[in-house]
Amino acid sequence: MAFTLYSLIQAAILCVNAVAVLHEERFLSKIGWGVDQSIGGFGDEPGIKVQLMNLIRSVRTVMRGEVKRSTV
Protein backbone atom coordinates (compact mmCIF):
# COMPACT_ATOMS: atom_id res chain seq x y z
CA MET A 1 0.00 0.00 0.00
CA ALA A 2 1.64 3.13 -1.18
CA PHE A 3 0.03 6.17 0.39
CA THR A 4 0.46 9.67 -0.79
CA LEU A 5 -0.27 12.73 1.28
CA TYR A 6 -3.12 13.54 -1.05
CA SER A 7 -4.85 10.24 -0.37
CA LEU A 8 -4.51 10.90 3.36
CA ILE A 9 -6.17 14.29 2.95
CA GLN A 10 -8.92 12.69 0.87
CA ALA A 11 -9.54 10.00 3.49
CA ALA A 12 -9.58 12.58 6.29
CA ILE A 13 -12.09 14.77 4.47
CA LEU A 14 -14.35 11.83 3.73
CA CYS A 15 -14.27 10.66 7.35
CA VAL A 16 -15.03 14.10 8.71
CA ASN A 17 -17.82 14.46 6.20
CA ALA A 18 -19.28 11.14 7.29
CA VAL A 19 -19.34 12.28 10.90
CA ALA A 20 -20.82 15.65 9.97
CA VAL A 21 -23.81 14.25 8.10
CA LEU A 22 -25.09 12.14 10.99
CA HIS A 23 -28.55 13.49 11.56
CA GLU A 24 -29.53 14.39 15.09
CA GLU A 25 -33.22 13.52 15.17
CA ARG A 26 -33.47 10.75 12.68
CA PHE A 27 -30.50 8.71 13.65
CA LEU A 28 -28.57 9.62 16.76
CA SER A 29 -31.54 9.89 19.07
CA LYS A 30 -32.87 6.60 17.80
CA ILE A 31 -29.77 4.72 18.85
CA GLY A 32 -29.44 6.64 22.07
CA TRP A 33 -26.53 8.85 21.07
CA GLY A 34 -28.35 12.17 21.03
CA VAL A 35 -27.07 15.30 22.71
CA ASP A 36 -29.80 15.29 25.32
CA GLN A 37 -28.80 11.85 26.47
CA SER A 38 -25.21 12.68 27.28
CA ILE A 39 -25.63 14.60 30.52
CA GLY A 40 -24.86 11.70 32.75
CA GLY A 41 -23.13 11.71 36.07
CA PHE A 42 -21.05 14.69 37.03
CA GLY A 43 -18.11 12.69 38.18
CA ASP A 44 -14.69 13.29 36.77
CA GLU A 45 -14.74 10.34 34.37
CA PRO A 46 -17.26 10.82 31.57
CA GLY A 47 -16.73 7.46 29.94
CA ILE A 48 -16.12 6.47 26.34
CA LYS A 49 -19.67 6.82 25.05
CA VAL A 50 -20.13 10.35 26.38
CA GLN A 51 -16.75 11.41 25.03
CA LEU A 52 -17.62 9.98 21.63
CA MET A 53 -20.97 11.76 21.58
CA ASN A 54 -19.27 15.02 22.52
CA LEU A 55 -16.76 14.51 19.77
CA ILE A 56 -19.47 13.87 17.17
CA ARG A 57 -21.42 16.90 18.31
CA SER A 58 -18.37 19.18 18.17
CA VAL A 59 -17.37 17.93 14.72
CA ARG A 60 -20.89 18.60 13.50
CA THR A 61 -20.92 22.06 15.02
CA VAL A 62 -17.61 23.04 13.53
CA MET A 63 -18.30 21.60 10.11
CA ARG A 64 -21.80 22.94 9.73
CA GLY A 65 -21.15 26.39 11.12
CA GLU A 66 -24.67 26.73 12.46
CA VAL A 67 -25.77 28.68 15.46
CA LYS A 68 -26.71 26.34 18.29
CA ARG A 69 -30.41 25.99 18.68
CA SER A 70 -32.43 25.47 21.84
CA THR A 71 -31.09 21.96 22.47
CA VAL A 72 -27.66 22.91 23.69
Binding site: A2, F3, T4, D44, I48, Q51
Partner: protein, 308 residues
Amino acid sequence: TMDLPHHGYRATKQRARAAPPQADPVLFEDTSSSASAMNTQGYYTPGYNMGAPSSDMQGGAGMDNLFADPMANAAMMYGSSLANQGKDMVNKEISRFMSVNKLKYFFAVDTRYVLKKLMILMFPYTHQDWEVRYHRDTPLTPRQDVNAPDLYIPTMAFITYILLAGMALGIQKRFSPEVLGLCASTALVWIIIEVLVMLLSLYLLTVHSDLSTFDLIAYSGYKYVGMIFTVLCGLLFGSDGYFVALAWSSCALMFFIVRSLKMKILPSISADSMGTGSAKPQLRLYITVATAVFQPIIIYWLTSHLVR
Protein backbone atom coordinates in the same frame (compact mmCIF):
# COMPACT_ATOMS: atom_id res chain seq x y z
CA THR B 1 7.14 15.03 43.97
CA MET B 2 5.89 11.50 43.50
CA ASP B 3 2.30 12.60 42.99
CA LEU B 4 3.16 15.52 40.80
CA PRO B 5 2.54 13.67 37.50
CA HIS B 6 -0.89 12.58 38.71
CA HIS B 7 -2.36 15.66 40.30
CA GLY B 8 -3.09 18.72 38.24
CA TYR B 9 -2.11 17.13 34.97
CA ARG B 10 -3.37 19.88 32.75
CA ALA B 11 -2.02 22.54 35.04
CA THR B 12 1.35 20.86 35.03
CA LYS B 13 1.35 20.70 31.28
CA GLN B 14 0.40 24.33 30.86
CA ARG B 15 2.81 25.49 33.49
CA ALA B 16 5.51 23.35 32.03
CA ARG B 17 5.02 24.81 28.63
CA ALA B 18 4.81 28.37 29.92
CA ALA B 19 7.79 28.25 32.23
CA PRO B 20 10.70 27.42 29.88
CA PRO B 21 11.45 30.96 28.70
CA GLN B 22 12.77 31.83 32.14
CA ALA B 23 14.03 28.44 33.08
CA ASP B 24 16.95 27.84 30.79
CA PRO B 25 18.20 30.93 29.01
CA VAL B 26 21.07 29.07 27.38
CA LEU B 27 18.65 26.75 25.66
CA PHE B 28 15.88 29.04 24.56
CA GLU B 29 17.71 32.23 23.83
CA ASP B 30 18.61 32.62 20.24
CA THR B 31 22.30 33.39 20.54
CA SER B 32 22.93 33.34 16.81
CA SER B 33 21.83 36.95 16.25
CA SER B 34 24.02 38.37 19.02
CA ALA B 35 26.94 36.28 17.79
CA SER B 36 26.57 37.56 14.27
CA ALA B 37 26.27 41.13 15.54
CA MET B 38 29.51 40.66 17.42
CA ASN B 39 31.10 39.23 14.31
CA THR B 40 30.12 42.09 12.09
CA GLN B 41 31.32 44.54 14.67
CA GLY B 42 34.57 42.65 14.74
CA TYR B 43 34.75 43.07 11.00
CA TYR B 44 34.04 46.74 11.15
CA THR B 45 36.68 47.76 13.65
CA PRO B 46 39.72 46.19 11.97
CA GLY B 47 38.39 47.51 8.70
CA TYR B 48 38.36 50.99 10.06
CA ASN B 49 41.71 50.58 11.70
CA MET B 50 43.23 49.23 8.52
CA GLY B 51 41.45 51.74 6.36
CA ALA B 52 42.45 54.91 8.12
CA PRO B 53 46.24 54.63 8.03
CA SER B 54 46.35 53.16 4.50
CA SER B 55 44.01 55.76 3.08
CA ASP B 56 46.27 58.32 4.65
CA MET B 57 49.21 56.71 2.97
CA GLN B 58 47.74 55.56 -0.36
CA GLY B 59 44.64 57.66 -0.82
CA GLY B 60 41.67 55.33 -1.01
CA ALA B 61 42.58 51.77 -1.99
CA GLY B 62 39.06 50.39 -2.04
CA MET B 63 39.83 46.71 -2.62
CA ASP B 64 41.54 45.91 0.62
CA ASN B 65 39.38 48.02 2.88
CA LEU B 66 35.91 46.98 1.88
CA PHE B 67 34.39 47.79 5.23
CA ALA B 68 35.86 51.23 5.42
CA ASP B 69 33.82 52.25 2.39
CA PRO B 70 30.74 54.09 3.71
CA MET B 71 28.51 52.94 0.86
CA ALA B 72 29.27 49.27 1.52
CA ASN B 73 28.68 49.89 5.22
CA ALA B 74 25.28 51.38 4.57
CA ALA B 75 24.37 48.60 2.17
CA MET B 76 25.37 45.94 4.67
CA MET B 77 23.35 47.58 7.45
CA TYR B 78 20.33 47.84 5.20
CA GLY B 79 20.64 44.22 4.12
CA SER B 80 20.96 42.95 7.66
CA SER B 81 17.95 44.97 8.81
CA LEU B 82 15.94 43.55 5.90
CA ALA B 83 17.00 40.06 6.88
CA ASN B 84 15.99 40.69 10.48
CA GLN B 85 12.59 41.91 9.37
CA GLY B 86 12.11 38.81 7.28
CA LYS B 87 13.18 36.59 10.15
CA ASP B 88 10.76 38.29 12.55
CA MET B 89 7.91 37.91 10.11
CA VAL B 90 8.61 34.21 9.55
CA ASN B 91 8.84 33.62 13.29
CA LYS B 92 5.57 35.36 13.90
CA GLU B 93 3.76 33.31 11.27
CA ILE B 94 5.20 30.02 12.44
CA SER B 95 4.47 30.70 16.10
CA ARG B 96 0.81 30.99 15.21
CA PHE B 97 0.71 27.27 14.44
CA MET B 98 3.12 25.78 16.89
CA SER B 99 5.22 27.04 19.72
CA VAL B 100 8.81 27.30 18.58
CA ASN B 101 10.09 27.12 22.15
CA LYS B 102 8.43 23.77 22.64
CA LEU B 103 10.05 22.57 19.45
CA LYS B 104 13.47 23.81 20.53
CA TYR B 105 13.18 21.69 23.66
CA PHE B 106 13.04 18.56 21.56
CA PHE B 107 16.14 19.38 19.59
CA ALA B 108 18.36 20.21 22.54
CA VAL B 109 20.47 17.10 22.30
CA ASP B 110 24.13 16.32 22.42
CA THR B 111 26.28 13.45 21.26
CA ARG B 112 26.30 11.60 24.55
CA TYR B 113 22.51 11.62 24.71
CA VAL B 114 22.14 10.40 21.15
CA LEU B 115 24.56 7.53 21.66
CA LYS B 116 22.92 6.43 24.90
CA LYS B 117 19.46 6.69 23.42
CA LEU B 118 20.37 4.63 20.39
CA MET B 119 21.80 1.96 22.66
CA ILE B 120 18.64 1.96 24.75
CA LEU B 121 16.52 1.65 21.61
CA MET B 122 18.42 -1.37 20.43
CA PHE B 123 19.00 -3.00 23.82
CA PRO B 124 16.56 -1.72 26.43
CA TYR B 125 16.70 -4.68 28.74
CA THR B 126 19.46 -3.41 31.01
CA HIS B 127 18.16 0.13 31.46
CA GLN B 128 17.02 0.56 35.04
CA ASP B 129 15.40 3.91 35.54
CA TRP B 130 12.68 4.89 33.06
CA GLU B 131 11.24 7.87 34.89
CA VAL B 132 11.41 11.23 33.15
CA ARG B 133 13.03 13.61 35.59
CA TYR B 134 11.55 17.03 36.27
CA HIS B 135 13.17 20.21 37.41
CA ARG B 136 10.70 22.47 39.19
CA ASP B 137 7.73 21.30 37.11
CA THR B 138 9.42 21.58 33.76
CA PRO B 139 10.63 18.41 32.12
CA LEU B 140 14.39 18.26 31.77
CA THR B 141 15.88 18.71 28.35
CA PRO B 142 17.22 15.67 26.56
CA ARG B 143 20.73 16.90 27.25
CA GLN B 144 20.23 16.28 30.95
CA ASP B 145 17.86 13.34 31.02
CA VAL B 146 18.25 10.22 28.95
CA ASN B 147 14.59 9.27 29.27
CA ALA B 148 13.25 12.46 27.75
CA PRO B 149 11.87 12.10 24.22
CA ASP B 150 13.52 14.10 21.50
CA LEU B 151 12.79 14.81 17.88
CA TYR B 152 16.34 14.80 16.59
CA ILE B 153 16.73 11.02 16.42
CA PRO B 154 13.36 10.42 14.70
CA THR B 155 14.01 13.13 12.11
CA MET B 156 17.47 11.88 11.27
CA ALA B 157 16.30 8.27 11.28
CA PHE B 158 13.44 9.11 8.94
CA ILE B 159 15.72 10.79 6.43
CA THR B 160 18.26 7.97 6.71
CA TYR B 161 15.50 5.44 6.14
CA ILE B 162 14.42 7.19 2.94
CA LEU B 163 17.97 7.26 1.62
CA LEU B 164 18.47 3.64 2.58
CA ALA B 165 15.24 2.67 0.84
CA GLY B 166 16.46 4.39 -2.30
CA MET B 167 19.74 2.51 -2.08
CA ALA B 168 18.01 -0.83 -1.50
CA LEU B 169 15.75 -0.29 -4.49
CA GLY B 170 18.74 0.72 -6.54
CA ILE B 171 20.47 -2.54 -5.66
CA GLN B 172 17.45 -4.39 -6.94
CA LYS B 173 17.40 -2.22 -10.06
CA ARG B 174 13.93 -0.96 -9.24
CA PHE B 175 14.91 2.61 -8.57
CA SER B 176 13.40 5.74 -10.03
CA PRO B 177 13.16 9.20 -8.45
CA GLU B 178 9.40 8.97 -8.02
CA VAL B 179 9.79 5.88 -5.88
CA LEU B 180 11.81 7.89 -3.38
CA GLY B 181 9.08 10.45 -2.97
CA LEU B 182 6.46 7.72 -2.73
CA CYS B 183 8.39 5.93 -0.01
CA ALA B 184 8.83 9.15 1.92
CA SER B 185 5.19 10.10 1.78
CA THR B 186 4.06 6.58 2.68
CA ALA B 187 6.20 6.57 5.80
CA LEU B 188 5.05 10.08 6.70
CA VAL B 189 1.40 9.12 6.25
CA TRP B 190 1.81 6.13 8.54
CA ILE B 191 3.33 8.33 11.23
CA ILE B 192 0.44 10.78 10.92
CA ILE B 193 -2.12 7.98 11.11
CA GLU B 194 -0.48 6.49 14.17
CA VAL B 195 -0.25 9.83 15.98
CA LEU B 196 -3.88 10.64 15.18
CA VAL B 197 -5.09 7.26 16.41
CA MET B 198 -3.08 7.66 19.62
CA LEU B 199 -4.46 11.16 20.20
CA LEU B 200 -8.00 9.96 19.54
CA SER B 201 -7.74 7.03 21.90
CA LEU B 202 -6.13 9.14 24.62
CA TYR B 203 -8.93 11.68 24.28
CA LEU B 204 -11.71 9.12 24.29
CA LEU B 205 -10.47 7.40 27.40
CA THR B 206 -9.91 10.76 29.15
CA VAL B 207 -6.36 9.86 29.98
CA HIS B 208 -4.92 13.01 31.49
CA SER B 209 -1.28 12.52 30.72
CA ASP B 210 1.26 15.13 29.79
CA LEU B 211 1.95 13.54 26.44
CA SER B 212 1.83 16.36 23.93
CA THR B 213 1.58 15.90 20.20
CA PHE B 214 5.32 16.29 19.81
CA ASP B 215 5.93 13.57 22.39
CA LEU B 216 3.76 11.19 20.42
CA ILE B 217 5.53 12.10 17.19
CA ALA B 218 8.83 11.42 18.92
CA TYR B 219 7.76 8.03 20.28
CA SER B 220 6.36 6.89 16.98
CA GLY B 221 9.46 8.11 15.17
CA TYR B 222 11.75 5.90 17.21
CA LYS B 223 10.72 2.90 15.17
CA TYR B 224 12.74 4.21 12.24
CA VAL B 225 15.93 3.34 14.07
CA GLY B 226 14.76 -0.27 14.22
CA MET B 227 13.76 -0.12 10.57
CA ILE B 228 17.18 1.09 9.49
CA PHE B 229 18.87 -1.67 11.44
CA THR B 230 16.54 -4.27 9.92
CA VAL B 231 17.03 -3.09 6.37
CA LEU B 232 20.80 -2.96 6.78
CA CYS B 233 20.89 -6.52 8.08
CA GLY B 234 18.61 -7.61 5.30
CA LEU B 235 20.88 -6.07 2.70
CA LEU B 236 24.06 -7.45 4.21
CA PHE B 237 22.98 -10.93 5.25
CA GLY B 238 20.11 -11.76 2.97
CA SER B 239 16.66 -12.95 3.90
CA ASP B 240 17.67 -14.81 7.07
CA GLY B 241 19.47 -11.80 8.43
CA TYR B 242 16.42 -9.71 7.68
CA PHE B 243 14.09 -11.85 9.75
CA VAL B 244 16.51 -12.18 12.64
CA ALA B 245 17.03 -8.42 12.73
CA LEU B 246 13.28 -7.88 12.42
CA ALA B 247 12.60 -10.10 15.43
CA TRP B 248 15.36 -8.46 17.48
CA SER B 249 14.39 -4.87 16.78
CA SER B 250 10.68 -5.64 17.21
CA CYS B 251 11.21 -7.07 20.67
CA ALA B 252 13.52 -4.26 21.69
CA LEU B 253 11.14 -1.60 20.38
CA MET B 254 8.09 -3.19 22.00
CA PHE B 255 9.87 -3.33 25.34
CA PHE B 256 11.02 0.27 24.98
CA ILE B 257 7.57 1.58 24.08
CA VAL B 258 5.80 -0.33 26.84
CA ARG B 259 8.26 0.81 29.50
CA SER B 260 8.27 4.43 28.34
CA LEU B 261 4.54 4.87 27.89
CA LYS B 262 3.67 2.93 31.00
CA MET B 263 5.06 5.72 33.13
CA LYS B 264 3.02 8.32 31.36
CA ILE B 265 -0.31 6.66 30.65
CA LEU B 266 -0.88 4.22 33.49
CA PRO B 267 -1.16 5.62 36.99
CA SER B 268 1.43 3.68 38.84
CA ILE B 269 0.85 4.20 42.56
CA SER B 270 -2.23 6.39 42.53
CA ALA B 271 -3.45 7.01 46.03
CA ASP B 272 -6.62 8.73 44.90
CA SER B 273 -9.57 6.60 43.90
CA MET B 274 -9.86 7.72 40.34
CA GLY B 275 -11.69 5.65 37.82
CA THR B 276 -15.09 4.08 38.09
CA GLY B 277 -14.03 0.53 38.43
CA SER B 278 -11.57 -1.79 36.84
CA ALA B 279 -12.36 -0.76 33.29
CA LYS B 280 -10.00 2.16 33.23
CA PRO B 281 -6.63 0.61 34.02
CA GLN B 282 -7.40 -2.22 31.65
CA LEU B 283 -8.21 0.11 28.79
CA ARG B 284 -5.07 2.10 29.39
CA LEU B 285 -3.09 -1.12 29.36
CA TYR B 286 -4.76 -2.04 26.08
CA ILE B 287 -3.67 1.25 24.56
CA THR B 288 -0.08 0.72 25.59
CA VAL B 289 0.01 -2.86 24.39
CA ALA B 290 -1.74 -1.99 21.12
CA THR B 291 0.82 0.73 20.44
CA ALA B 292 3.61 -1.71 21.11
CA VAL B 293 2.14 -4.44 18.90
CA PHE B 294 1.60 -1.96 16.09
CA GLN B 295 5.32 -1.27 15.80
CA PRO B 296 6.51 -4.63 14.41
CA ILE B 297 3.59 -4.73 12.01
CA ILE B 298 4.47 -1.39 10.54
CA ILE B 299 8.18 -2.19 10.48
CA TYR B 300 7.47 -5.33 8.49
CA TRP B 301 5.07 -3.49 6.20
CA LEU B 302 7.45 -0.69 5.36
CA THR B 303 10.60 -2.75 4.92
CA SER B 304 9.62 -6.07 3.42
CA HIS B 305 9.38 -4.73 -0.09
CA LEU B 306 12.94 -3.48 0.16
CA VAL B 307 14.45 -6.84 0.96
CA ARG B 308 13.31 -9.57 -1.32
